[in-house]
Symmetry: C2
Subunit: 202 residues, 2 copies
């Protein structure tokens, strides 16, 4: 699919048909996540792809899916034929930036920005876009809504899940009420040359 079409079609979808997703398509989607850039090529991200029905149902229980049903949503977590859990390791970055080519003293840099989280977001975006490119749809549920996820999937202590991407064939879904807020005005979000300088004529 054309990149522009992928970009404009991408949205969080929270309802899937019962059609399974092929292993090949899933492989391509998660590989897109693996190809995301990382500071110092630290590659501190890792992925757990959950297709096992029992595990997906266990994850749905962790998410307290009933609260979605009570709010009129579909059971999008248990019904999604695949879950991709994205994990990131702060430790991988700290070790990488102590290596000789990054630190002459072995001392860690100042970290004004925690790139382990930023890079996990880049991997997340690649996965969301790659799902659309496969003709699939994806949603996202953050880790704050999934207590016990790391234990369930045997994720080691030095990796932290940022949440899970649900992947499946799209079904008509209920729109998130968050979208009713509308987009922020473009001129508040995109600044040219200086934050406070007015937008130049194009």
């Amino acid at each position: 699919m054309e990149f522009g079409e992928v970009l404009s079609k991408r949205r969080m979808v929270r309802h899937y048909t019962e059609q399974p997703v092929s292993r090949e398509a899933l492989n391509r989607v998660v590989e897109a996540g693996r190809r995301a850039p990382s500071a110092g090529f630290s590659q501190g991200q890792a992925f757990v792809v959950v297709t096992d029905r029992t595990d997906r149902q266990a994850i749905a229980r962790l998410s307290d899916e009933d609260r979605y049903l009570a709010a009129g949503f579909d059971p999008w977590i248990s019904q999604a034929p695949a879950h991709i859990v994205i994990c990131t390791s702060e430790k991988a970055y700290r070790l990488r930036y102590q290596e000789a080519d990054k630190s002459s003293t072995g001392a860690e840099p100042n970290w004004p920005v925690p790139y382990w989280w930023v890079d996990a977001g880049a991997a997340l975006q690649n996965i969301l876009l790659a799902a659309v490119d496969e003709g699939l749809a994806a949603g996202f549920l953050g880790s704050h809504a999934l207590p016990g996820l790391a234990d369930l999937l045997d994720i080691p202590a030095d990796y932290q899940p940022i949440g899970l991407v649900t992947v499946g064939h799209p079904a008509p879904d209920r729109r998130s009420s968050s979208l009713d807020r509308g987009w922020r005005p473009k001129e508040d979000v995109i600044h040219w040359n200086r934050w406070l300088r007015p937008d130049p004529p194009s």
Copy 2:
């Protein structure tokens, strides 16, 4: 361009020709950043697009570009015809998650994952990919290497720059030595169903 081609062509490029980038192309690239998803549709990201030559040279001075030249790289920061600074606001997320639809008590959620950084990474990735789709190339320099950037661009205190994306027409560049590390083995990065469970036959 096909999504798969964009994905496979994307890499950090640190050398650009003198050819300028059209305002229309830049607009599309930064719009791709604006379209990235955000937790609770917080839209806590903002962008400063710097095309002014004097400002770009000032940014290059902040980055201590001479150390790249000393290491045999091209002056990729001062030569890039456009810089896109990506900013994120933790405050925007904290305010969003105190709203009635996110909190019945007005209390903030527990934040095991700082989504303001994750979502900035998603915006970054959209920008990097959109540049490739325009036939351009992009690089990234983190905020730890840009002291004083927020002051230079009048970025308000509640927004933090994660770094800048250099955008231009690609010229033959010197590869980052970080890439010599090679990719981590796929089986260490992608796990199926449980972290420790062996990869099933495909």
